[in-house]
Assembly symmetry: none
Homo-oligomer: 140 residues x 4
């Protein structure tokens, strides 16, 4: 057997609360997702006024960060033309997001889930997802 840890619903609420607060502070309505260790959705919030397109992107950023075990921004360079894995963005049923805003949740070096944020520009998405990750780490 493999024993795995994965984020709980209660933890996802704390993470989403923190990400939502950060989004309010920045004044950017966001789509926010928390996924478990296998990339499946545990919690989701679409803030009032948040862009519709970003709903599935937030979810897929959460999926991607859990499924590749690193932040989605780390996929950017390699998936650009000339990069090692150019074309990655159209693999895995197009669920792979190759720009920032998806960040894994880690415990003792293992990925237990991920946060995905989408709705602002990429730096805002990263900051907001990051606020969720920080809240998770602070609560442990």
């Amino acid at each position: 057997m493999q024993s795995q840890q994965t984020v709980s619903l209660d933890e996802s609420k704390e993470i989403l609360d923190a990400a939502e607060s950060k989004a309010q502070e920045l004044g950017v309505p966001m789509n926010l997702a928390v996924t478990n260790n296998e990339g499946n959705l545990i919690g989701f919030r679409r803030m009032d006024g948040a862009k519709l397109v970003a709903a599935s992107i937030a979810r897929d950023k959460g999926y991607t960060a859990a499924a590749v075990k690193k932040p989605t921004e780390d996929l950017k360079e390699g998936s650009e033309p000339g990069g090692d894995v150019y074309g990655l963005q159209s693999t895995d049923d197009n669920r792979v997001v190759t720009f920032g805003g998806g960040i894994p949740l880690e415990v003792d070096g293992e990925v237990v889930g991920a946060v995905g944020a989408s709705g602002g520009d990429v730096s805002e998405d990263i900051a907001i997802a990051g606020a969720g990750v920080e809240a998770f780490e602070a609560s442990r």
Copy 2:
């Protein structure tokens, strides 16, 4: 112009809190979704231990109830062999769920969103989605 009312993120949280409480009371881990007037996801929670298959079904029950403007259980009879809309379940990119657990949220006779619940048997799903709808109505 058309003016439309749709459920807010804050209202979705109250709805999900009430549905989650009902699920805990019944002892059935659920997937819970709130969609807006256009059937798009506003809030989602997968309770610890809830069946994976029911995650997309909860979302699609919420989609369906908003998109057809009635409870999903009202589609059951018509979508059976011999029914008026037999085959409905495989239309609209298979997002139409034709058994109970999706219920519209209404204000002044207009559909402003919906609740979807999946994870138990159909009567439990209906009761739990109904608890969400009641909380929404009580808060107004």
Copy 3:
């Protein structure tokens, strides 16, 4: 955090060996799948001469049994016309298989994965998936 157990690659090999032996004994070339606790594929074998259509069905039986936490044959009655969840077979991106041949792997009452078998008639598929489950239980 939620702590979860899931089947390992080594365990999947023992399960597939047992299912393959049973298929040889019955003289039916099979597609055989083992999925983890979240329904994702861990191991797969298509025996020489096994039907192509049954490759995705075996995988989806494994997905379904893990995702609904029961044998796929238990979905048959309810998903028939007149059943409680008629229409279930076209939910969840059509991955739900509602006839026999997918069986969960359980440890201490928790689903840690599943076996899916497809290629024979349903009773053969069930017997062959069952041989895999038995080998898993015997090895613990």
Copy 4:
């Protein structure tokens, strides 16, 4: 009539054993696939801890290498902007992988299947798929 040769299940096991050993030697948990001459999956293994995203990519690398009858890395240059087949990565239902890690299995100059490996960086994926191909050739 056409007579075709294709890899057997037993051969796929030897190939996967060799690829798995190589992955253990390199310390990189991999997703490993063997496809037949028509690109369909014959054998699959997801090693403990291997990235989820790489499961479908390994399968699709195996599909691609069989379907284009060359290593997937040979598609890289042509599918880049300015290349002869730019856009290839989003054809054929997005199953075409245009970076390394898929290698055909050949007998007497005919493609009889392919190996796909995904989970490490591209050079690791190529080395591990290559170990599978070598084992196949050595066994003949």
